[in-house]
């Protein structure tokens, strides 16, 4: 069985939303699984000194226009969220807690977070909102709220984030295929060619 493709992202990353829409299908065409790995991008940004693109002069206007046109291109619903960016620790913790029980439900939860945040423009930073989204996958809201305070769940997210940074992840989305890293939703073509050719 070939290695799964790793998909690193922060729930507050629009480009991750655009990639999440396509990555499983694309990777599946090459007989690979895709493992979704939410992380806290802020930890990587401490290393790189980067700022969220929307906060950067000139670039901020560019990315807002770019997100809207990518949504049109991929036929995805798009609402520029406000506030943005947001804290995603609750969503990421909930993801790993669900993932420990049912990875398919964790992906469905993650996609629901993306469409709620970027499709409908609703803030998903609070524990209550995250619990309500998890409830749509059949989890009791009280169980989710308890899991968000669970030390093992908290540690899992810390470990995943620090492993990501150690593996060279500095942006979102970021893909690793057999040790080779690819940054950005606009590099899916390159991931595809790499999968096809086994490098080049």
């Amino acid at each position: 069985m070939p290695n799964p493709v790793e998909f690193y992202f922060d729930f507050s990353s629009p480009y991750a939303y655009f990639a999440a829409d396509r990555i499983d299908r694309m990777v599946g065409d090459f007989g690979r699984d895709c493992v979704w790995k939410p992380m806290l991008l802020g930890a990587a940004m401490k290393e790189t000194g980067a700022a969220p693109p929307v906060k950067v002069p000139i670039k901020g206007d560019y990315v807002k226009n770019d997100w809207a046109r990518l949504a049109r291109f991929q036929d995805l619903k798009w609402t520029m969220p406000d506030p943005f960016p947001i804290a995603t620790v609750a969503a990421a913790r909930a993801f790993y807690w669900i993932d420990g029980q049912d990875p398919a439900k964790a992906k469905a939860f993650a996609w629901d977070c993306f469409t709620t945040f970027f499709g409908e423009g609703k803030d998903i930073s609070s524990k209550e909102t995250v619990a309500a989204i998890a409830a749509r996958q059949g989890f009791a809201e009280d169980d989710v709220l308890a899991a968000l305070e669970d030390e093992a769940v908290k540690q899992r997210l810390k470990d995943e984030t620090s492993t990501a940074v150690t593996n060279g992840v500095f942006g979102s989305p970021f893909f690793i295929v057999d040790g080779e890293g690819f940054w950005g939703a606009d590099r899916l073509w390159m991931v595809k060619r790499w999968l096809k050719a086994g490098g080049w």
Copy 2:
């Protein structure tokens, strides 16, 4: 006659080299001309606070690997230059001076700068090296050296750079198609679709 596509770049940008290899042919397929507009990216970086990617922790290693694999992919010669990045004011001034006389020669000169710097890894920051490259397009080296100190030539580069920043250019390469901006060598697919559909 439709508007030409504008191609903004800094001569010290590897991604501009990869885009320069393809942009004229791609744009020409849609009956458009492409105008090459070298600029000093440092001026944009003052506005955005961005650092050259190669200097950024983690990202620096990523881009070096990325440049090498893009060169393999596009079948272009690649040598990681040292020193890097370099000052490109001489190359950019020479470009505009040549462009005032013969735009086709200016593009040939620019491509020669790219292949000398990124293909052979030779420093092209000095006036003498720039003059030697321009000489390969039939210009006398003394005339080039004089032009590099010409006030009108200096002002042209300042104006082009400040117009670029005003137009929203914050990185290299950057393309503008009928007022719509596209950042990055990995967005040529998007420029192509925009040209084809007239937006979407």
